[in-house]
């Protein structure tokens, strides 16, 4: 009896040992980091989402005047009934939802057609000038997404909305038909011409990784070219195509710019524009119901897509092994195809830019005589009859403030995104296989499936008033930084994980054995080895933040105006020429950033930034 008691450690020392072991686990650097990341994501993603849902299922202060029976803060299905049933439901929810689906499906298909065929031509045929085409193909994505919509208006606007005639009417003498000027057709075309880049990049990477002997085998067995394409090539690039579908669909669903420029003037509302509209009326809860509808639709679509692909893996790395591919001969139509592709690229890059430039040097919109050319909108004086007395953009202190806001926001966002990338990457890779690591990875993925404008709405819900330790951040610059960083989380974690995977755990362990503490390991081993990932992540985020509109449109105030939102306000006030001038400034800054990427970061490229 006594001997057994002696061999057993006393309960108190057992407890002590257990707490020591727990403390050791808790103080492991990757566990600490993972817990910090969890806390950050909890505040940035989970609480806002919770607040969003909570607002829609409780009575708000603004409901009280019409509903004497309501008690503020009590549960109610009122907002859902109001927004999802009856006449209001069909106007506020179902019509915009239908429009959103039309636009999203249409743009996705058209983008797939353009991007897919362009990728095939560039990678798999003997088309001349492929390198040039390859480089030009990415440019539309670098421009803000609503550039094309704005250029479309310059070209095709008619008098439907009581404005001035567009270039088309001036050249042809006839106003373009309404369906060509406004509504779903132009929205679809403009979105597709922007987002086809996803398909181009994904599909060309997939095509590059296909061993052409697979196709040659089909060839030897007597299949003709179209049969090989259908039966062999297409199934092999299918995962890449589906990845493109997910990305494009979810982006278009949440896009605000294009639909606002080309749809709103003729009351063609999509969920994104309706969401902002109803926020403008002041009924937050109703707008949030729309945001939830939008989020649910995006998630459902992505979920179905993922079931089709099988796993999420397929849109992580699509290996670029680079087999020597047998190129298809285009034969007689080689020249013709080359000319056609180049003309297409000019149409989607140079023409819109040219139109925008041209519109900014017309004194009066719609007057196409030479005598109407002016630099008023660029360097005009203050207090003229033009632009509500505002000076030209280059002399306009407001524009400088706005540009500085944009640059500041992009720099902060880029910095935090890149930093979080390294930290998330470390926490996830070091803890690979543990539940904690999986949880961090999954949480970081959530913002990916929430459309941009809905994400903005989520943040209004969270930070409009004081909540626990968080002050009401609405209207502050910090809120813009937070929301931008949060929206970039999926990108952060993916690029962070991939650059951390390249480091290899032995390199850190070697330092650990050598006696270096966590900070020394980070400073001397991990950070230096992930610099290239950090830099490319930084520059890339800078660019995407610069031209982001949907995410921040609900959150900017006059004091925190950004270039992107400024163009939209000019457009909405009928100052199209000022809007176009600001877009051009924005494009110039982004182009400069992109040039820097190409110049200073060897590993960094747009492709890599898209997670490829």
């Amino acid at each position: 009896m006594t001997s057994t008691a002696l061999s057993q450690p006393r309960p108190s020392s057992q407890l002590q040992a257990r707490s020591r072991r727990f403390l050791r686990w808790l103080t492991a650097p990757h566990v600490i980091l993972a817990l910090i990341m969890l806390a950050i994501m909890f505040v940035m993603v989970i609480i806002p989402l919770y607040r969003l849902v909570a607002t829609t299922v409780t009575w708000g202060a603004s409901d009280l005047p019409q509903h004497p029976e309501a008690v503020e803060g009590e549960l109610t299905a009122y907002h859902y009934i109001r927004m999802l049933t009856g006449r209001l439901g069909s106007i506020y929810t179902y019509a915009p939802l239908r429009h959103s689906m039309t636009v999203a499906v249409g743009s996705t298909l058209l983008a797939l057609l353009i991007g897919g065929s362009l990728a095939w031509l560039v990678i798999r045929t003997d088309l001349p000038g492929r390198k040039l085409i390859n480089q030009l193909a990415v440019i539309p994505y670098i421009m803000p997404s609503w550039t094309l919509a704005q250029a479309w208006l310059v070209l095709f606007k008619n008098r439907l909305t009581g404005g001035t005639p567009g270039v088309f009417e001036f050249l042809v003498g006839q106003p373009p038909p309404d369906w060509l000027s406004y509504g779903p057709v132009p929205i679809i075309i403009c979105s597709a011409l922007h987002y086809y880049t996803f398909f181009f990049l994904f599909v060309s990477a997939a095509l590059m990784s296909i061993d052409s002997s697979l196709e040659e085998a089909g060839d030897l067995m007597g299949a003709n070219r179209s049969r090989i394409l259908r039966k062999i090539t297409f199934p092999l690039v299918l995962p890449a195509v589906l990845s493109g579908v997910i990305m494009t669909f979810s982006k278009v669903m949440g896009t605000f710019g294009g639909p606002n420029i080309l749809g709103t003037p003729v009351n063609y509302y999509v969920l994104a524009t309706m969401l902002r509209g109803s926020l403008g009326i002041g009924d937050k809860a109703d707008a949030f119901v729309l945001a939830i509808v939008l989020i649910l639709f995006a998630i459902t679509t992505i979920y179905i897509n993922q079931r089709l692909i099988g796993t999420r893996r397929s849109y992580e790395t699509i290996g670029g092994r680079g087999f020597m591919a047998q190129l298809s001969k285009l034969g007689n139509i080689k020249r013709l195809m080359y000319v056609a592709v180049i003309i297409f690229q000019i149409l989607v890059i140079a023409l819109p830019l040219g139109l925008l430039v041209y519109s900014t040097i017309m004194l009066k919109d719609g007057n196409y005589s030479f005598s109407n050319l002016t630099l008023q909108h660029w360097i005009g004086a203050r207090g003229t009859i033009y632009n509500n007395g505002e000076p030209g953009v280059l002399l306009n202190p407001k524009i400088y403030t706005t540009a500085w806001n944009s640059i500041r926001l992009s720099l902060w966002t880029a910095f935090f995104t890149a930093l979080l990338g390294v930290l998330l990457g470390y926490a996830i890779v070091k803890g690979r296989g543990t539940r904690l690591s999986k949880l961090v990875e999954q949480l970081a993925y959530i913002p990916y499936v929430i459309p941009g404008i809905a994400f903005g709405a989520v943040y209004i819900a969270m930070f409009a008033r004081k909540l626990g330790p968080f002050p009401p951040l609405y209207g502050t610059f910090a809120l813009l930084v937070i929301v931008s960083v949060a929206k970039h989380l999926p990108y952060s974690s993916r690029s962070g994980v991939s650059s951390m995977m390249q480091v290899g755990r032995e390199l850190e362990e070697a330092a650990q054995v050598a006696g270096a503490n966590a900070w020394q390991r980070f400073r001397r081993i991990i950070f230096p080895l992930t610099t290239s990932g950090f830099t490319s992540g930084f520059l890339l985020t800078f660019i995407t933040t610069m031209r982001e509109l949907s995410l921040i449109i609900l959150l900017v105030t006059p004091a925190t105006q950004l270039l992107a939102s400024q163009t939209m306000f000019y457009t909405e006030n009928g100052n199209d020429q000022m809007a176009n001038a600001v877009i051009l400034i924005l494009i110039a800054i982004v182009a400069l950033g992109n040039f820097v990427i190409g110049r200073f970061s060897r590993g960094g490229s747009l492709k890599r930034g898209l997670g490829m």
Partner: protein, 360 residues
């Protein structure tokens, strides 16, 4: 200077898999202990537990008198405070640092004076015959050179214990030969207690003072290379060590000192055991008698495989197949009859059911 390492009842799980199962090892000061086993046997995990890179979930580890890990007491001394060096399979040289910086990293952590660092780097590079390579980046060297630098990096901070995780497996066959003798020499000079992980039995046999054979996380035998080779503790060890493989013949003990192997009876010590057994005999321990001697058994040559210094012969008698090895090029031809003589001294008898050695 050299220190002992004591491992008591060490256990480590990965999920439901038991990577290391209740392993105890007493490693003498200055020993060269090799953890040997097939991939997945837990040898690397055990090494990483000693290094402090993996937290075991049971048992204790002492380095010298110092308790560096104890599950029961909740103690785990961080890797860097265990005074050991580790050479990784893929070298793990920091690619962004030149050789000099790679080697002084640990010394900087210890805050040694600069002159001392320079002296140590010079000395250690000389020890691995890599003088003058201070300014190279790792990628500017061949695999063999990187390997030497990885060794020098460890030598430079003079740990009490050397740990090596399959350090030679990424080298080509010739270089591996050279490095074996270099490593053995290095151990001889430094006298540091060394734990060496490998799946290569030749490395284990040629370099170690002690071999610990592991299988599925369980220690199978802890012994000198000589004893592990000649007296494998069980059938797994017997089968794992030796090239060509040991002959394992099923038999039954019919009477004291007689084992019936089916096609013939073997007279050997059975030490009062009975029942079904497995007889293990190394290919080189079977003598070929021609002309025949009385106790020799007649076999027919099935195949002859000369390889320069030695010749492997496969011989059959009914359904019994035996591999034997003779020095030099043999004049024996395929289908020749040969007479084999089994040395009772060289025969190990294993219990068929448990696989354990019962008579040696």
């Amino acid at each position: 200077m050299a220190t002992t390492i004591t491992i008591k009842n060490l256990t480590k799980h990965f999920g439901k898999v038991v990577a290391v199962n209740n392993v105890s090892l007493d490693i003498k000061a200055g020993a060269f202990l090799t953890l040997l086993g097939p991939s997945g046997c837990g040898k690397t995990t055990l090494l990483r537990c000693v290094a402090g890179l993996e937290d075991p979930d049971g048992g204790e580890i002492y380095i010298g008198d110092k308790l560096v890990y104890s599950h029961e007491k909740g103690i785990s001394v961080p890797s860097g405070k265990r005074d050991l060096g580790l050479v990784f399979q893929n070298y793990a040289l920091w690619p962004h640092m030149k050789v000099y910086k790679n080697m002084t990293f640990a010394l900087e952590v210890q805050k040694l004076p600069k002159e001392e660092m320079q002296r140590r780097v010079k000395e250690s590079l000389a020890e691995v015959k890599m003088e003058g390579y201070e300014d190279r980046y790792p990628r500017e060297m061949s695999g063999g050179q990187q390997q030497r630098i990885a060794l020098a990096r460890m030598l430079a901070y003079r740990p009490k214990v050397f740990l090596m995780d399959e350090p030679l497996s990424n080298l080509d066959a010739r270089l591996r030969m050279d490095m074996r003798s270099e490593l053995k020499r290095l151990h001889h000079i430094s006298g540091a207690t060394t734990i060496y992980v490998t799946h290569d039995q030749i490395e284990a046999l040629t370099m170690s003072t002690t071999i610990a054979v592991m299988r599925e996380g369980v220690l199978q035998q802890l012994d000198t290379p000589d004893r592990v080779y000649h007296y494998p503790a069980n059938l797994f060890v017997a089968d794992f060590i030796g090239n060509p493989k040991v002959n394992l013949l099923d038999g039954v003990i019919t009477s004291e000192n007689t084992i019936d192997l089916g096609s013939f009876k073997l007279n050997t010590d059975t030490n009062h055991h009975t029942g079904t057994v497995v007889v293990g005999v190394r290919p080189e321990d079977i003598a070929i008698a021609s002309p025949a001697v009385p106790e020799a058994i007649e076999f027919r040559v099935y195949s002859v495989l000369p390889s320069g210094a030695e010749t492997t012969i496969v011989a059959r008698r009914q359904n019994l197949e035996i591999t034997l090895k003779v020095m030099g090029i043999s004049t024996i031809k395929m289908d020749d009859p040969i007479w084999l003589k089994f040395e009772p001294r060289a025969i190990n008898v294993y219990d068929k059911e448990s696989g354990n050695l019962i008579v040696s």
